[in-house]
Symmetry: C2
Subunit: 208 residues, 2 copies
């Protein structure tokens, strides 16, 4: 298989998060009903997602939490290690470079780059900040396929071009810039403010 | 109206981001075709979303970018000011408290709280870090309805309870903890690692 719907694919991170949380609490099974309530989606949809993942539940018990979590990890390739460079060592770059959870997902930060001479050579967590001029050579040396982009938006496209030319195939874009990339390179736009927009709508309609 | 489908609602932040980017480049109109290509969705769907927002395009020109952006802002309540407290002054809390874009969306940070005595009284951007013990009193004093939660997960539920009891109605949750809240309180789970999961899947299938 390894083909599921786009909507199901979008739900995998939430499933994974919920399963991890329940697993930590010592739970072994979770029902489609529980998952549907937490995700606020129809139970039939949960059952369909599980079938797509080739996961079967047990009568009156539900799905084995650990097996389901591992199935999602396998499906998404989280059991392999992906090395990434953090490009931009500001507050957000620092938060991402030192984010404690990433290693559980196979994401390994291979370095942090910045263009500020006062930052280069200083430490961000365990990483010595490297000049952004070394972006291409670091990508080639470590065969990096993924960069995490947290630079000011005016330099986002230029650094993307350099990274793509050096061999990067995926860009996790935390800048508000729309990036142009050639075919075969994937951009994931991370719009932090999107979460606020949903809450703003909720609060607005509360007070009306 | 002010009723649109869940899927359309989820697309609003991306529409907004794209419109803002084009507006900055000096563009006045955008077509449903351009929007559909950038979002990688069907053009018919774009047209339907615009109709839901009661936005009409012009023949051969498309949608007026500025009017459409403002319509989305009005719909989401982004033209009002929402005050929020950042609870947790670590790297992520610092990045969010000092995020330059938030003010454009009406999000105003009213303060930053932390439980670390060495941080209390120090400055994060323009904010003097306040003890987390003052969470309830600050919420009540400023009539805060939203908190941005970036604490370690073991204190997430406890602080949520305190905030909700003090009057908070929306929680922007950056912790991996599933939060229990009473009816009428909205939680938005921000799963930063979700973006990586999608890219990991892409990279995995590249190399197979």
């Amino acid at each position: 298989m390894d083909r599921i719907s786009k909507a199901a694919f979008r739900r995998l991170p939430r499933y994974h998060q919920i399963l991890s949380a329940f697993e930590e609490l010592g739970r072994e099974y979770i029902s489609s009903r529980e998952l549907s309530e937490i995700l606020e989606i129809n139970e039939t949809l949960v059952r369909k997602d599980m079938a797509d993942l080739q996961i079967r539940g047990r009568q009156n018990q539900g799905y084995g939490i650990s097996a389901l979590r591992q199935r999602i990890e396998e499906f998404l390739g989280l059991q392999d290690v992906t090395e990434a460079l953090v490009v931009g060592g500001g507050h957000l770059g620092t938060a991402l470079a030192t984010y404690p959870g990433f290693e559980h997902y196979g994401l390994k930060i291979a370095g942090v780059l910045d263009n500020d001479p006062s930052k280069i050579g200083s430490m961000i967590g365990p990483y010595e900040v490297v000049s952004v001029f070394r972006l291409a050579s670091m990508i080639q040396k470590h065969q990096i396929k993924l960069i995490i982009l947290t630079v000011p938006k005016d330099s986002a496209q230029e650094l993307t071009d350099i990274a793509v030319n050096a061999g990067v195939r995926a860009i996790w874009n935390f800048t508000p810039r729309e990036l142009n990339v050639p075919e075969g390179v994937r951009v994931r736009n991370e719009q932090i403010v999107g979460g606020f927009m949903a809450l703003s709508y909720y609060l607005k309609n509360l007070s009306e």
